[in-house]
Amino acid sequence: MNQADLDVARRCRAGDPAAFEALYRTHAGRLFGLVSRMLGSAPEAEDVLQEIFVSAHRKMGGFRGESSLGTWLYRIAVNHCLDQLRSRGARMARATESLDQEEAFEPASAEPAVPSAISRIDLERAIAQLPHGCRAAFILHDVEGLDHREVAETLGISEGTSKSQVHKARMRLRRLLTARIRKPGAAHPQLVKLVKAL
């Protein structure tokens, strides 16, 4: 139990605006990174971040110090993201993902295709293009560093599903990042494959 966190929570409950602002300043960056990546939209993430902190303020009475305030906030944030994704239209994403499940393990190139130094912008853009199911698992596992058991608990899925979603995300990112660095004018590998098949 972290006494400092309990003190911050107590001050927030007592209506100390400076304590709540300090809490926001400490955790907003990490949570905004998480939320904007999970949702793939910065404007939407701004609204959700606001909801997260308003919700946290309301629930502060329920904070008992069993975890750190950071972990507690993180959990609120993940739940808000999942609710947001669900309400945004899980059906369309699910339809897309069912197609993705057919994505084969296809080691098409004998050389590493992803650049050794991936730019942050390229990676963020590619992550935003992932279907939301595998994106959530990938972000929690590869970006946030949760293990598969924690990812499974957080998302309410099995560990096996977490592993397969992370794998799917990585393979999709490999393709996206490879396509991004193709030389201008070079044909897409799938196009070449299609032309050869004709």
Binding site: P17, F20, E21, Y24, A28, G29, R30, F32, G33, S36, R37, A45, E46, L49, Q50, F53, V54, H57, R58, K59, G61, G62, R75, I76, N79, D83, R86, A90, R91, F105, P107, A108, S109, A110, E111, P112, A113, V114, P115, S116, I118, R120, L123, E124, I127, F138, D142, V143, G145, G156, K163, V166, H167, R170, M171, L173, R174, L177, T178
Partner: protein
């Protein structure tokens, strides 16, 4: 080890989570298979790059929005998590009985009175039960033999939304089976139940409208 075998283990290998025997077997395959080695190298690069993605500073207006919302809330009555849904749970039985077609079939359940009298610890179970009763009643009505059929687009949209909500309900109940007092899961469950009742009410109202229209055509 074949490439297909390697495909199943490549992520564990990249994560360093294989046991030593498996790690050695994958390593041997990678040493002889250029293509799988290329995949492993790419996945390692992606994983390493992902770990470097750090915090993102939100725009300053987000904090201003939070402050404004909290100040506005200070002037309103306080709420407490899922407990703010209690009046909705209590009222649903009455709303259900207020629908003309439904009203002929449903007894009004005095849920509100019961909710007001129970202790806080029991309120969550009472609210869940109230929602479930409303859902059961609404589902019964919607599936009765003499209920008119919804037009296909409406049925498809309704079915898809119900599948989503049922998934959310199942997930929340699963989490609550492990941690019954978890406030986040309680929130999620009651919110999903609330949404499902509203959706079913809309569906029954649509059916009611269709039924009225049909009766108007065939007096």
């Amino acid at each position: 080890m074949t490439c297909d075998d390697a495909a199943l283990l490549i992520d564990d290998h990249v994560d360093g989570s294989c046991d030593p025997v498996t790690a050695a077997a994958v390593g041997r395959h990678l040493s002889t298979c250029e293509r799988c080695r290329a995949v492993a190298a790419d996945l390692s690069r992606i994983r390493a790059a992902a770990r470097t993605l750090g915090p993102v500073a939100p725009p300053e207006h987000v904090w201003a929005g939070i402050q404004a919302t909290l100040q506005a809330q200070d002037t309103e009555a306080p709420s407490a998590g899922w407990r703010q849904l209690l009046p909705a749970a209590a009222g649903f039985a009455l709303i259900v009985s207020g629908l003309s077609w439904v009203g002929m079939r449903l007894p009004a359940a005095p849920v509100g009175v019961q909710l007001a009298e129970v202790q806080a610890d029991d309120q969550f179970q009472q609210a869940e039960a109230a929602y479930q009763t409303a859902i059961d009643d609404l589902e019964l009505i919607a599936t009765e033999a003499d209920a008119p059929a919804l037009a296909e687009p409406a049925f498809v949209a309704l079915h898809a939304s119900l599948v989503d909500l049922d998934e959310a309900i199942d997930e929340a109940r699963e989490r609550l089976s492990v941690e019954p007092d978890d406030e986040f899961s309680q929130d999620s469950l009651l919110t999903a139940l609330d949404n499902k009742v509203v959706l079913l009410q809309d569906a029954v109202a649509l059916l009611d409208q269709d039924r009225t229209d049909i009766e108007g055509l065939n007096p």
